[in-house]
Amino acid sequence: MKKITEVAVEKGLLLLALSAIFMLVLIAVFIFVEGTPLIFKTGLRNFILSAKWSPLEGQFGILSMILGSLLITGGSLVLGIPLGLACAIFLSEFVHNKIRAILKPVIELLAGIPSVVYGFIGVNVLVPLIREYLGGPGLSVLAGSIILGIMILPTIISISIDALQAVPRSYREGSLAMGATKWQTIHMVVLKAARSGIVASIILGMGRAIGETMAVIMVAGNAVKIPRSILDPCRTLTTNIALEMGFATGTHRQALFATGVVLFIIIMILNIIARYIIREQK
């Protein structure tokens, strides 16, 4: 009797697990089936290497959006990595366990704030500041980078802390016993030992930044043009889909799915790299 329930539970769980994978396959197949015909029709080169996007006139070049995504994501990392790492090192190495137990969950709470709230704060506080003190329309690559830089902090901090904490105590003690100072120990021994975990945290943060949509729509200005400076507005791959989805029909709609295909491939590559690095650590 017991055996039957055992088997039933096992098979049931297998079925549920497979359904999750099935979802992923379904989404991937759907995006590719809808999107790739257009890429073939316009030609991969015209699609990826042209910056002319006027879908109603049949021009589908997404270069400015690919660059927009890369620029904003790059900018967010320039801001997020030093801040996040500093915070992680401080919380892992310099703070008492009890305080860390309070501060780490608080930082992780940042991840729970909806992105539309970040965008709203960005539009009302950050954008006017940029416009007044730095010039340009305010809605810009810089605004997007700052907002995303803050949004990826919890990912970078919490995974980096875990990586730093996983470094065996004996490493630190050994280094200190050799006469190294605390800072020397941290940057020559602990950071080196935790390197792959930290890199993984950065790549996961990058994945979050490149996939973020709502906050970017609100602060980046969404202009279809390759930005000349960080004060120019720009459009990312995700915002291109979200902005025009509601109204798109026919080839316009296919072009948005094709944008999704490009985004899907970029995110898949990032995830695979992250997996590889995490496995390396083990």
Binding site: V123, P137, A223, V224, A242, L243, E244, G246, F247
Partner: protein
């Protein structure tokens, strides 16, 4: 506790069944233009109060979706706010439900009161980049537009652009509300929004010296006006006709006027004239 849970489950089970029962009554779906959506919701609510046997389901999706949905039968009434309807719509019956002025808006602190159609065209195509070129302060102009496919944008481009292309560095927002919000936050910005969305926090400019008041729009003096179409299939049910009669009749038109759009009557003459 268990008893309570059971009750909750029962309710959870019954509510959808009840709703499904409702839906099986005559349901008419209206879909399309997001600009007309709030008005359609109000009209549908009023109509359902008077005709309890009919259920009207109002959806957005945009003008293009509205036309598509009627063509493939997903919706019975499509809403489209375009100056020129796409060729697919030629087999549908068209009714002008209302007309909507498109207002060119700037920040209230902007000294400019009037722009000519020619100046607006030059600003949106990138020939004019600074407010001083149109008589304002020496500051760059931040041009705000809508996303490709938006009915407001298509209408604006049809009325203003005459074959020109939108400048590349224009800020793109995805609704009338967010365009207004951008203008409120930026003293150097210019944008265009539906007449019904203009409030005291933005300044609607005169175009060619004519301010976008209800009277001027109704009299056909203000140039930037678009019709809001209701579209149905050629062979529609009697219920659908009932809804159309209500919206196009005096009661529906009164609601439209009260809610901030302009009734259709003059617009009908207008579109024929154009």
């Amino acid at each position: 506790m268990v008893k309570k849970m059971k009750k909750i489950y029962l309710i959870l089970l019954l509510v959808p069944l009840y709703l499904a029962g409702c839906a099986r009554r005559h349901t008419i779906t209206m879909a399309g233009s997001t600009a007309f959506l709030p008005f359609a919701e109000q009209l549908a609510e009023d109509f359902m109060k008077k005709n309890p046997g009919v259920n009207i389901n109002v959806q957005g999706g945009g003008s293009a979706v509205g036309i598509q949905s009627v063509l493939n039968g997903v919706a019975q009434i499509g809403m489209a706010d375009l100056v020129t309807l796409p060729p697919e719509a030629k087999d549908l019956k068209k009714f002008v439900a209302a007309q909507d002025g498109i207002c060119v808006v700037v920040h209230p602190s902007n000294k400019i009161e009037n722009l000519t159609l020619e100046q607006i065209r030059a600003i949106y195509s990138g020939k004019i980049n600074n407010w001083k070129e149109v008589g304002g302060i020496d500051k760059p102009i931040t041009v705000v537009s809508r996303e490709a496919g938006s009915g407001t944008r298509s209408s604006f481009e049809d009325l203003v652009f005459k074959g020109l292309k939108l400048r590349g560095d224009a800020i793109i927002e995805d609704s009338n509300g967010t365009v207004r919000e951008t203008i409120i936050n930026n003293p150097q910005a210019i944008g265009y929004i539906s007449h019904g969305v203009v409030n005291e926090k933005v300044k609607a400019l005169k175009v060619d010296g004519i301010s976008p008041t209800c009277e001027n729009i109704m009299a056909g003096k203000y140039k930037l006006v678009r019709p809001i179409y209701l579209l149905t299939a050629r062979d529609s049910q009697t219920d659908v006709k009932l809804v159309l009669d209500y919206i196009l009749g005096p009661e529906g038109q009164k609601t439209i006027l009260e809610q901030g759009l302009l009734p259709a009557k003059i617009c009908n003459i207008e579109t024929v004239g154009r």
